[in-house]
């Protein structure tokens, strides 16, 4: 192809002209459940990869192999363990793997592993020699996955200074990004809802957080977080299953070869796969989580009131009322099915009412200050009265777990009850994508603004000041 690949009649813009807002920056938004990555200015992240990864260690191999991405981690294999590099509070524990996962999120769908558009441009700009050769060289030299694009990363508001420095180090030194910026997830979520002042309630997988944002600035002392989030609801469902009489069998899909329809509540009659080995417990748990997600989507509902689920009005328990309501059927992958009536309200009630949480000896009830209303209250108490009023009229609810049916309505009811004086206005993005990827979206909007140009921390500045610059520049 060598001959004839000459620069076009019109010269493509030179590499130097591509800067800031012209080359789309990459926005990376890591979370406990998924890592979102995409180009700034787009409305959805192109790349959403699970944070869970596989460690595959066949008995005959020397070292474990890391498996990233949906395609690699759902097939039962002997010696496959599923792990998450973040701890239960959403803080990075395994920094090396996390960096690799982040890189995978960027390269797998956005940049490609070797591809580098700039390399071609350079080849042309120099206009020397055979472009083919230049391209070959580019593949050798441009191993750095982000040599082309500025990178905006998001972080939880309670990230440690050390973790922040580590992030810029990875981005600039390992990935070779020319410019970097670190944004707070809460602030960015507020931007995604088009607000610069908001009280952001983010219900994620591992953590629920409340972040007051005033005039585009996060109010650090007002950040509150608690573990009552998506994983907590999953655990509640597991307990409910285990404690019901007879226990509900939680069977993941991979075990079942084919199922037969059975009557409600009767044992499943499925044909099961025989693996000849026992898939690891972590793998099973990870796959069970898929079933629980389906359960959350189609059965679980947040009690809609009036009042809390436990202890209803006029002495009559709401639980009794709930039992009279129409149930929702759920079928397990093995065909076992049942109608859930009152149970489906119980699973999420613990988010609001610590007394309602399902408990077990090894799973103590949550503390009262961890519940959603108390969390919001604690956060608001740290702010000035006038700011508080503004925040209450701009409550933004985001995060995947906020999609639990009826959650926003219930939260609205709880807040209205707590703050009778000021007007409470709750806003939750309409589309599921905006809700799940709010902080990514905020980052995408921010990074594509022309005025953001000056905010980037350039590689030069990093080289001059060291990683500590992130503390000064990205507040």
């Amino acid at each position: 192809m060598a001959q004839g690949f000459t620069p076009g009649q019109t010269q493509a813009p030179l590499a130097n002209d591509y800067a800031g807002d012209e080359v789309a920056a990459i926005v990376l938004d890591p979370g406990y459940s998924t890592i979102r990555a995409g180009f700034a200015g787009e409305d959805t992240p192109k790349s959403v990869v699970p944070t869970h990864y596989g460690v595959y260690e066949p008995s005959d191999s020397a070292g474990p192999e890391l498996l990233f991405g949906e395609n690699a981690i759902h097939n039962p294999k002997k010696g496959l363990e599923i792990r998450n590099p973040l701890n239960n509070e959403g803080i990075v524990e395994d920094a090396d793997t996390t960096a690799k996962l982040w890189e995978y999120a960027i390269t797998s769908r956005l940049t490609g592993s070797t591809g580098s558009a700039r390399a071609i441009r350079d080849g042309e700009k120099n206009g020397e020699g055979d472009p083919d050769v230049d391209m070959d060289e580019a593949e050798d030299t441009a191993e750095k996955p982000l040599a082309d694009s500025p990178l905006m990363m998001t972080e939880p508001g309670w990230n440690s200074p050390k973790a922040r420095e580590k992030a810029i180090e990875i981005a600039i030194e390992e990935w070779g990004t020319p410019a970097f910026w670190l944004g707070r997830q809460g602030t960015l979520a507020a931007f995604s809802a088009g607000k610069s002042t908001a009280l952001v309630v983010d219900l994620g997988a591992s953590t629920t957080s409340v972040t007051p944002v005033y005039d585009g600035q996060m109010l650090k002392k007002g950040i509150m977080r608690s573990p009552l989030a998506g994983n907590f609801v999953s655990d509640q469902i597991r307990l409910l299953f285990a404690q019901s009489q007879p226990p509900v069998p939680l069977t993941p899909h991979y075990i079942v070869k084919s199922k037969t329809a059975v009557d409600a509540g009767t044992p499943a009659q499925a044909i099961y796969h025989e693996f000849g080995f026992e898939p690891s417990a972590s793998f099973r748990r990870f796959e069970e989580e898929r079933v629980l997600t389906e359960f959350k989507e189609s059965v679980v509902q947040v009690w809609h009131g009036p009042g809390r689920f436990m202890g209803g009005p006029q002495g009559a328990s709401n639980e009794e009322i709930a039992k009279g309501l129409q149930g929702r059927p759920f079928e397990m992958p093995d065909g076992w099915n049942q109608v859930f009536t009152a149970e489906r309200f119980k699973a999420a009630e613990g988010l609001f009412d610590h007394k309602a949480a399902v408990t077990a000896p090894d799973q103590p009830p949550p503390r009262p200050d961890q519940t959603l209303p108390q969390l919001i209250n604690a956060s608001l108490q740290t702010t000035d009265a006038d700011v508080r009023t503004q925040l209450l009229t701009n409550v933004v609810v985001v995060g995947g777990s906020s999609l639990l049916y009826g959650l926003t309505d219930r939260l609205n009811a709880e807040l209205t009850q707590m703050y009778t004086g000021p007007r409470v206005r709750l806003q939750a993005p309409g589309s599921t994508i905006e809700r799940k990827f709010a902080s990514w979206l905020g980052g995408s909007i921010l990074a594509s603004l022309g005025s953001f140009h000056q905010m980037w921390v350039s590689r030069k500045e990093y080289e001059e000041h060291g990683p500590n610059i992130v503390e000064k520049r990205c507040r």
Partner: protein
């Protein structure tokens, strides 16, 4: 006036194995006019590429039939004696620039595109529509855009996602596209033309046609099969994926009836020859010609004087045992002819019955193997033209006139390269055809877990669609395309797997409510399906009415249901309160407007969709849909502008 004419549109659809291309849109769309193997050969000069294997050969040498010890003796010949010859079939030393949908060797890929483009020899004002693999990253798409604009000076360039292309072919807006390729499969959920990038299964490895070939090889290598044989077995009509629950035909049964119909042996060469074929030869005292469950090929192969079961004839030829082998082959043929004559008389009456048995009931069946390896081994020996023809005749099992039928009646996905159409090559220069028998392994190509993996990926993809109310519709619109899904019975088996693993039966506990009108959106007659406001079927608290009755009446009239009053600020709160999916699984039906496509099958419907899309983009709506980038746009925005234009 449209900006572009029908006959000036190029469509290129690169795949890991096969690249389809076409210049111009005919009145009625036909399957791709040009098929290329997606591979190039490094030329002698660095950085240049050749579309075919180039063989150096000396002048027809005197040592004609003495098999040379060194397989490539001519390479050392003097310069003056060297001739070059293109071998259009050989893949030896080829570089396949696309692996699992990803472009792994860019110079090679660009060379392939250049070759494809030049083969079409398009006129000046020709827009290009490239069918993009889902695995291509954004940056890679930019790179491609730059290449096409600057190398070919195209006036307009469009990138069409392969899944969207399939959608166009099926004339629908919402579907789950399962594209089973060579080494990978892609599963894409699309609703209202919108690709759900999140959760999309991109390039699921080991779920394509190659995985099935490997599976066959794994089972058959003990019988002396080569991977190439398995590949051809897979593409032959006798390879099937049997529906779930259908037992494999018992070997015993076949054995019993086999001696009864030796006549079937007479139909050598036809794909549908009887199961008794080889057994009858055995009964006549002849040695088994091909591998079968009862020939111990693996061991015998090593013995010099017992080569009957050997399949890899090419190695014999290069190994210098040619003459011995040929002699035996002659004898075999003669004996077989006798057998044929004898058998035909006795068993002519029994034969038709057995021959009518469908493939799936027979324990054994045969297919025609086109032995390119042997052919090229012969070529390496520098035989003269006549010698070559003799050798071919001697080695070939299938009568030459049968070849045509084998090509036609098989769904044989034989790839014909650009200009090597069928009239060229076959009589003298064709591959050596041999008949090979295979047992029940031919039904087990998909037993390596490929169906389960694919089914799981489909479930995962649809389950990660954010708009849960769309999922039911996505399950009802499965589109299975790709040549990997071409094996007989594959699609049915995949559907059966999905059905047996994932379908949600109406719960017996809610048998009454399950008959309530679904509150999921259903496509209306006009094809428009606006999302209906969702009515949660559960009634509000405090109602004393029978909740089931209440739900039955209110679910059709959401405003009657007090529980569903949604706070004004959550207008689009349609994210939850749905039933589990799937409650039914259906495949989308393809509109059969195009007779040529109907005839060829819709495995390559992606290309049909690309044709439809090209017509729509370049001719009907022009730039209105912003589905392609013009030269002017490119000059203004550079390669990264492509993301605003591609579909």
């Amino acid at each position: 006036m449209p900006a572009f004419k029908d006959d000036q549109i190029i469509i290129i659809s690169p795949g890991s194995r096969t690249t389809l291309a076409q210049l111009g849109l005919p009145e009625s769309f036909t399957p791709a006019k040009l098929r290329f193997k997606s591979r190039m050969f490094p030329a002698e000069k660095d950085g240049e590429w050749e579309p075919f294997k180039v063989r150096r050969r000396g002048k027809p040498a005197a040592n004609g039939d003495a098999p040379p010890a060194d397989p490539q003796p001519v390479a050392e010949d003097g310069e003056d004696g060297v001739q070059y010859e293109e071998d259009i079939h050989s893949d030896e030393g080829a570089i396949w620039p696309i692996e699992e949908g990803r472009i792994t060797d860019w110079p090679c890929f660009f060379a392939l595109m250049t070759y494809v483009y030049n083969t079409m020899n398009p006129p000046f004002h020709t827009p290009i529509l490239l069918v993009a693999q889902p695995a291509w990253t954004s940056r890679e798409r930019e790179k491609l855009t730059q290449f096409f604009f600057e190398k070919f000076k195209t006036p307009a360039f469009g990138l069409l996602d392969s899944a969207v292309a399939a959608l166009y072919a099926f004339g629908t807006m919402t579907a789950t596209v399962v594209d089973v390729g060579f080494e990978k499969a892609d599963v894409t959920a699309i609703s209202d033309f919108l690709v759900h990038e999140h959760g999309r299964t991109v390039a699921l490895p080991r779920c394509g046609g190659e995985a099935m070939t490997e599976r066959l090889y794994e089972m058959l290598k003990g019988r002396g099969f080569t991977p190439e044989m398995c590949e051809q077995l897979k593409t032959s009509p006798i390879c099937e994926v049997l529906p779930l629950g259908v037992d494999l035909p018992l070997v015993g049964e076949g054995e019993r009836e086999a001696p009864a119909n030796p006549a079937a042996a007479a139909s050598t060469g036809a794909n549908a020859s009887g199961p008794g074929h080889r057994n009858s030869a055995g009964a006549m005292g002849d040695a088994p010609r091909g591998p079968g469950p009862d020939t111990d090929v693996g061991e015998e192969q090593k013995e010099d004087d017992d080569n009957e079961g050997v399949l890899d004839v090419a190695s014999i030829v290069t190994g210098g045992k040619m003459n011995e082998y040929l002699a035996r082959k002659e004898k075999e043929k003669a004996e077989k002819a006798v057998a044929r004559r004898k058998g035909a008389q006795e068993a002519a009456t029994n034969a038709p019955k057995a021959a009518r048995l469908p493939n799936s009931k027979r324990p054994r069946n045969t297919f025609i193997y086109e032995d390119y390896a042997l052919h090229s081994a012969l070529k390496d020996m520098n035989l003269s033209g006549q010698k070559m023809a003799e050798m071919q005749a001697a080695l070939s099992d299938a009568p030459q006139q049968k070849q045509r039928t084998a090509d036609e009646n098989g769904d044989s996905a034989m790839i014909v390269d650009g200009y090597s159409s069928t009239e060229h090559g076959i009589p003298r220069d064709g591959p050596i055809r041999r008949e090979i028998e295979v047992g029940i392994e031919r039904f087990q190509a998909a037993t390596g877990g490929i169906l389960e993996n694919l089914a799981d990926a489909i479930h995962r993809t649809i389950s990660s669609v954010e708009e849960v109310n769309k999922r039911s519709e996505l399950w009802d619109g499965l589109i299975i395309v790709g040549n990997g899904a071409k094996i007989r019975g594959f699609k049915e088996a995949l559907l059966a797997t999905l059905n047996s693993k994932y379908i949600i039966s109406p719960s017996s506990a809610t048998i009454f409510t399950s008959e309530l009108p679904s509150n999921l959106t259903t496509p209306s007659g006009t094809g428009t399906n606006t999302p209906q406001p969702q009515a949660p079927p559960h009634a509000a608290g405090g109602s004393n009415v029978n909740p089931l009755l209440f739900a039955a009446t209110t679910s059709q009239n959401p405003h009657l249901n007090p529980g569903s009053q949604i706070q004004p600020m959550h207008t689009h709160n349609t994210h939850s309160s749905h039933g589990q999916t799937p409650t039914s699984i259906k495949t989308a039906k393809i509109p059969e407007y195009f007779p040529e496509w109907k005839e060829a099958g819709f495995d390559e419907a992606t290309f049909l969709g690309a044709q439809v899309a090209a017509k729509v983009f370049f001719v009907v709506d022009q730039s209105g849909s912003k589905a392609y980038m013009t030269r002017t746009d490119y000059n203004d925005q550079g390669p990264s502008g492509i993301h605003e234009f591609s579909v």
